[in-house]
Symmetry: C2
Subunit: 442 residues, 2 copies
Amino acid sequence: MRVSRFFMPILRDPPKEAEIVSHRLMLRAGMIRQSSSGIYSWLPLGLMVLKNIEQIVREEQNRAGAVELLMPTIQSADLWRDSGRYDDYGAEMLRITDRHDRDMLYGPTNEELITVLFRDGARSYRDVPRTLYHIQWKFRDEIRPRFGVMRGREFLMKDAYSFDLTASEGKKSYNRMFVAYLRTYERLGLKAIPMRADTGPIGGDLSHEFIILADTGESEVFCHKDLLELEAPGNNHGPEDDLEPVIAPWLDKYAATEEMHDKAQFERDVPADKQISARGIEVGHIFFFGSKYTDPMKCSVQGPDGALTPLQCGSYGIGVSRLVAAIVEASHDEGGIIWPESVAPFKIGLINLKAGDDETDKVCESLYEQLSNAGQTVLYDDTNERAGAKFKTMDLIGLPWQIIAGPRGLKQGKVELKNRATGEISELGLDDVVAHFVGART
Amino acid sequence: MRVSRFFMPILRDPPKEAEIVSHRLMLRAGMIRQSSSGIYSWLPLGLMVLKNIEQIVREEQNRAGAVELLMPTIQSADLWRDSGRYDDYGAEMLRITDRHDRDMLYGPTNEELITVLFRDGARSYRDVPRTLYHIQWKFRDEIRPRFGVMRGREFLMKDAYSFDLTASEGKKSYNRMFVAYLRTYERLGLKAIPMRADTGPIGGDLSHEFIILADTGESEVFCHKDLLELEAPGNNHGPEDDLEPVIAPWLDKYAATEEMHDKAQFERDVPADKQISARGIEVGHIFFFGSKYTDPMKCSVQGPDGALTPLQCGSYGIGVSRLVAAIVEASHDEGGIIWPESVAPFKIGLINLKAGDDETDKVCESLYEQLSNAGQTVLYDDTNERAGAKFKTMDLIGLPWQIIAGPRGLKQGKVELKNRATGEISELGLDDVVAHFVGART
């Protein structure tokens, strides 16, 4: 993509309304713009990151055997009356009346709708286990939206729902999602710790939040320091494998959110030098709630013995749009964002230091073409901006690599290659800079 | 994907509520389910088709130089008061009041929001021309939703918006989208004819609808028969090319929707044996409306002479979810759907005629693995269903190819390969059937 044909409105000055660094940097880098309180447009650069994260989430859901579908944003209020949750949800639910005076709502979550869909589509024990998920926009009418897309009103969430014949099978589905979440965060470059959590309006008695430690987090969390050192499980598990031993290292050590914190147990079980109490950002939340929805909504299948059995269920959420901000919170410096390669909007920023100079233009065009043809994603700054402004912009938007080409270096046939994360700069010949990336592909 | 782990609730009997064939087949094939009047869930098979269509639309938008972003579904009513359209839109607009009693709405289109975004991000003539687009759910509160996703209330639309300095530049952007649309429909296997059309609540004085001829179409259309024979333009146009001559063959011949029909002109300009008057389904609508929104919303840039100039704009819509139904209308037989390969949810259906038979299972597993590893998409029916039911299901869901493996053929080392569109069946050895697809990839 050429900057001259892109839409990336950079803000030079820090926007006043932004209280936290991710909000500030996402606005400055031209990733998002607020259109109403807590409701954002995703500009091209922001959308690219959002889609990269969404795709990683999707791949790990599919790997765990979950099947993707897509439920609508607008739901009937009657569905929520059937489950008994219509009144529970309070003012956070955006309630709507349509032209025929029917009560509707903008879905904040989808337990009801998926339960009805599955009930109408499944007949017998042979139709389970099944985990279904979708990645769809949700709305929660927060009383005080803030922190940009970290706590917006319209947000993108992946929510999965498991259906099993027995509670012990259901627990296996829960564990499978537990592993998928650990793998997802690892691929996003995040260290997320699963913590025992309150179940709130979703219900059930087993629940974990996945938490990133960050000073800007909204809640207090408590955990054993060694949890920060654990590596995510590999991807070599079959669909029938028992994953209890795989997740045991996370369950064995103390980790709890504020609501579930047990001070006495924390101080007894965790040595003083291993006690972490910190602020945390929730980036995922999983629940097992048995037949809480399948009972009232009559979602049963015929078991092997012929008897109708209400299914045992869990639900599993990841805030995809919130993750964009969480990654910026975890990965930035005073110059701007530092994207992990897995989610970067482009891998390479190519800076033409003297647009209009024949030789520099020719070399940049050639590099742009060679790298693009080799499958690399390149943002080529071909504008007439001053060099200083181009450097600042590239640092701000945080692409992992910068290639800097100008007349002075080109006299020796050299360009500069800068690693955004380390700041390291090397001088390379034109073939070598291409080889650096094209070699790295295989 | 194995059918035993998928979610594809087939209906054996034609659903009563479906009046047209696409609605009936999409319900029967387990592609969609209605959750409220005119609001649908996309089950896995339906979502796959929806995403394939979305991706083709996206690729042709990108090829035309349009840049993708994403605007939210919920908009502020004030934005529409600024443009003067808040009252114009009538009861089709879903109006919402949030917890702070602010007037909001579920966007039926995005001229206002994109105009504000572009206004706040663009400064000078160097920031144009630009065409921005998004693919997002919209809501129109139809008084009588029907025909399934053909005329639903919540629907997925691609809408693009062009910004130019002058009307003649704006016309070039319009032509570029015109070509992108022709190419998009060709890739979808559809013959869509651009017709002069009324501009309705979007406004402006230049507009074309892209229409597919079909008996179930909602409106009457009139055109020259030769338009059905034209082939879509190639993909070899540069971003600066003048596309007027490229689209001339479509503009030279008579084609108009009912609202724009001129009977006298039609009968004068089109020979009697070339006159087509038929029912049509609208699958796209493009508009050029100059400064209709940029004037009231003060979206101007500084021209080369330093003077502020309101930008000249157009908007360009394709109903992505409606296209799923339109393709089914255009491509089916008494057995079910016949997907064009470009949008098929899977390319190959693999039928195991005797699940549980060691040899048949072994061969099917091996074919499934070889084809999947070679990048082919395969739906493997590994269930215990009767052969007859499996055949019916595969025909119904319309995958382009079926591989049928059973003990009888395997005694001679043969499987059957069936082409869904032609019904042609050939007997092939195991290596040959793999070679048929893996060879076809390159």
